[in-house]
């Protein structure tokens, strides 16, 4: 039987889908999934135990937020962090990785829209001396109106047997995509909305989360 135990904001998750609370320490055993919907888990510490896996799907509309996430990886563990957001004011996201042993994988995918917001993303990917670890970072930000963004990727490697990958883009909405949708008879405004909504949802796997996001985006 699956169990979730909590004490002093520490969650032990085992095969459960849960919604994450603020200032949490989460310990993952087995295969787990965590969904964040418009909540702000400031100062999250997440430990993935040996031979465990976790998928985190995190969507937020941000007014003003500072989020620090520490990812602590056990042996043969795997973590996928899919995060998308719309930032209207100020968002500072710091992610720190700590590989405690060998053969672990972290994949970080971030899609963000700065709608008049200022976003700063810093990822300290510390792979250390352990072997067989992998880190993949993919960050794509779209600046709308007067949005601004900075991405600071630090990858520190002290061993030859690792894979470390970083990809980042900051840009405007894709004009070819806009022209394509307009060539089907769609108004500029609707085409823009379709593209931005698609950009926000297309990194998520959870159908429930996608439906929730679509509801909130259509309402907006």
């Amino acid at each position: 039987m699956n169990k979730i135990s909590m004490s002093d904001k520490i969650l032990n998750i085992n095969n459960e889908n849960i919604e994450l609370e603020n200032d949490s320490k989460v310990i993952v055993n087995g295969k787990s999934k965590i969904t964040v919907f418009n909540k702000y888990p400031n100062n999250l510490s997440l430990e993935v135990k040996d031979d465990s896996e976790v998928l985190i799907e995190d969507f937020r509309i941000i007014e003003e937020e500072n989020t620090s996430i520490k990812l602590i990886m056990g042996k043969n563990s795997k973590l996928i962090y899919n995060h998308s957001f719309i930032n209207k004011k100020e968002y500072n996201l710091n992610i720190l990785t700590e590989y405690q042993s060998d053969n672990s994988i972290i994949k970080i995918n971030v899609h963000g829209i700065n709608n008049n917001g200022n976003t700063n993303i810093r990822i300290d990917g510390i792979l250390g001396k352990n072997v067989g670890n992998e880190l993949y970072e993919s960050i794509r930000l779209i600046n709308e109106n007067n949005g601004k963004a900075t991405i600071i990727p630090n990858i520190l490697v002290d061993c030859k047997e690792v894979v470390a990958n970083h990809a980042a883009t900051i840009g405007k909405i894709n004009e070819n995509e806009l022209n394509y949708l307009m060539s089907k008879g769609i108004e500029f405004k609707s085409a823009r909305k379709l593209i931005l909504n698609g950009f926000i949802i297309n990194i998520f796997e959870s159908t429930d989360l996608i439906i929730k996001i679509k509801e909130i985006l259509n309402w907006r």
């Binding site: 070819n176 995509e177 022209n179 394509y180 949708l181 307009m182 060539s183 089907k184 008879g185 769609i186 108004e187 500029f188 609707s190 085409a191 379709l194 593209i195 909504n197 698609g198 950009f199 926000i200 949802i201 297309n202």
Partner: protein, 254 residues
């Protein structure tokens, strides 16, 4: 239906089309041939309204509407439909979402979901594509051939009056090309519609029953004929037609 007169077009200050003329009447099928980089795709993009191309002279009239005064959306709503050489993908935006919005904005009415889905499913069968295409991201993760069929899904739903096919056969295997050509002809038979084809391949032009073949050189049409002209080009190349272009310069632009 479409009348292009003395059209001159440039991109990044370089002239691609110069005094270009073309007339397409209702239900006619035309093709433009020419070496790579001579400006064939430019014609497609300018008719559709790509803002990256600057029209410096001339006019494009479609069913009495001056296209140069209209944006891409307005041109599409008049019934112009472009199938690009490599249709782009838009992750996260499904075919169904896009088509529902396109149809409801065009008609100003809410679309009946039942009728919409029923029609989409019928078209998927006709195109021999899985029904799952309906809710897939636009061209997302699709092969070249699947993308072309996906564009035809849009075509059947949006019911255009002028279809522009830019290198339709690129990315299509023989079986898929057959299905795609049959579909286009079937569509044309059931709708009053004209077709403009850009292609190097006579077989494709034959499959689509092309009536008029035009050769493009130095930014304008220098010769017009029937399918025998395409066959001659396939056999002898463009050398016999005094086709010249600043290929290297134009290729940079295309």
């Amino acid at each position: 239906m479409l009348k292009v007169e003395n059209l001159s077009v440039e991109i990044n200050g370089k002239e691609i089309l110069k005094d270009f003329n073309l007339n397409i009447n209702i239900n006619e099928i035309h093709a433009i041939m020419g070496p790579n980089g001579i400006g064939k795709s430019t014609i497609c993009k300018v008719i559709m309204g790509d803002p990256n191309y600057k029209v410096t002279k001339g006019s494009i009239i479609f069913n009495a509407f001056d296209l140069l005064k209209l944006d891409i959306t307005e041109r599409a709503r008049l019934g112009i439909f472009l199938v690009n050489q490599s249709p782009i993908e838009i992750p996260g935006v499904t075919n169904a979402e896009m088509l529902r919005i396109a149809l409801s904005e065009r008609t100003g009415k809410n679309i009946s979901i039942f009728e919409f889905n029923q029609k989409m499913e019928e078209i998927c069968k006709r195109l021999a594509i899985p029904i799952s295409f309906i809710h897939r991201g636009i061209n997302e993760g699709m092969s070249g051939g699947e993308r072309k069929k996906n564009e035809l899904l849009h075509l059947w739903m949006l019911e255009p009056k002028l279809i522009i096919l830019d290198e339709l056969d690129s990315g299509l295997d023989i079986d898929s090309l057959k299905i795609v050509c049959q579909n286009i002809l079937e569509y044309q038979k059931n709708h009053d519609c004209s077709i403009l084809i850009i292609s190097h391949h006579t077989e494709l032009l034959k499959s689509l029953n092309t009536e008029y073949i035009h050769i493009l050189s130095q930014g304008k049409i220098i010769k017009t004929g029937d399918l025998s002209l395409a066959a001659k080009i396939e056999k002898e190349g463009f050398k016999g037609f005094s086709v010249t272009n600043n290929v290297s310069e134009n290729q940079k632009n295309e």
